[in-house]
């Protein structure tokens, strides 16, 4: 009997949905095993169709994208009610992803910059989007633009996470196959990824690390063989779960942590901060400062994809 599945996206870019499509011929296996009852990017199902289902009707809901506005949360709650298993797909749902970088700002700061101050906008009256607005014919409403980006598991209970930005298509397939093969691991675990850090599968040679200066990728022609961190290039690979096949590193740029932290690591960014600080070369306070001056935008680099999932989640207002 085919599994009944719903796929939805919150504050997302559609990359995860494309990743599902990128399973190429495997898509046929997925289609053979699953009936899709909601997939806005690809199929014409409406929210009402889902609302009409009785609770738990769907075997699994695959939610990608972060919780950025009230609609994202409503549909998440709706899908939670309508499905037995909730899967967070991709870094946005799992960690907050790139949209999570908004947690360094407040709602008003964002709206002012986008609708009023942005150079290409002419908006003398300073109109910003409203949640409800009356027109002659009736009342129109829009979802509320939240002050803080949340991850999926901060609004609903989530059984499984498929990390990555985007998740590797093959990993999505292997994760989904766990469902129909009924081999799902304990609830709450991350599937479709490794349980060691990226360094394990990184092609570069790793030796003892002592860093006396950090450099920016465009300032240097890195040695293709040697570990990035040893060459003074900030790379979050050591604190990031493997599973992506080190695709960024293989294309010559250091890892930015999109596959999220390892199991018992509550905060990827602060953990990486601890690791990097420990291997600095100088012992004197002044020299340490000189080295730290060479790290550009440390906090947002360490939390490129995982700000909403970090312990402090956002900048204090």
């Amino acid at each position: 009997m085919k599994l009944k599945v719903g796929i939805y996206w919150g504050a997302a870019c559609g990359g995860c949905d494309v990743a599902i499509l990128d399973t190429h011929e495997k898509l046929l296996d997925i289609a053979a095993k699953m009936d899709i009852y909601l997939w806005p990017i690809a199929l014409d199902f409406k929210y009402d169709d889902v609302k009409k289902m009785e609770d738990g009707y769907l075997d699994a809901a695959i939610y990608s994208g972060a919780i950025r506005n009230s609609e994202n949360e409503e549909i998440a709650i709706l899908l939670r009610k309508k499905s037995k298993v909730m899967i967070a797909l991709g870094a946005c749902a799992h960690l907050g992803g790139i949209p999570g970088l908004a947690n360094f700002y407040t709602r008003d700061e964002m709206l002012k910059r986008i609708y009023i101050d942005s150079e290409s906008t002419i908006n003398e009256e300073g109109v910003i989007p409203l949640e409800s607005w009356n027109v002659k014919e009736g009342e129109l409403d829009l979802p509320r633009f939240y002050n803080t980006v949340k991850t999926l598991d901060q609004v609903v209970d989530v059984e499984y996470y498929i990390p990555g930005c985007p998740p590797v298509p093959l990993q999505i397939y292997s994760a989904l196959s766990l469902i129909w093969d009924d081999m799902l691991p304990p609830v709450g675990s991350v599937i479709g990824a490794g349980d060691k850090a990226l360094c394990e599968s990184c092609p570069r040679v790793k030796e003892e690390k002592t860093i006396s200066e950090f450099k920016r990728i465009q300032q240097v022609l890195p040695d293709p063989e040697k570990c990035f961190l040893e060459q003074g290039l900030v790379c979050l690979g050591a604190a990031t779960r493997s599973g992506c096949g080190a695709r960024c590193i293989k294309s010559g740029v250091p890892c930015r942590g999109c596959y999220g932290p390892l199991d018992d690591v509550p905060d990827l960014g602060i953990k990486m901060l601890s690791a990097i600080a420990s291997v600095l070369e100088p012992k004197e306070e002044k020299e340490i400062d000189d080295v730290l001056d060479t790290i550009v935008d440390p906090l947002r680099t360490f939390h490129r994809f995982s700000m909403p999932a970090s312990i402090l989640r956002r900048k204090k207002e």
Binding site: A11, C13, G15, I41, P99, A102, L142, F145, V253
Partner: protein, 63 residues
Amino acid sequence: MKRIEIDPITRLEGHGKITIFLNDEGDVENAFLQIPELRGFEKFVEGLPIEEVSRVVPRICGV
């Protein structure tokens, strides 16, 4: 005044909702396309090191 809502509009990148108002004769009185989606790249890309911008902005649209 009768109201038809197509929510969400599908098979495209991004979110949207169409609200159509019909008058008593059943003809279309007015129609609105509403885009609820906003993530704020315009703000949070500010101050990023330039080499990181090229790794952040592709997440505007992944299709």
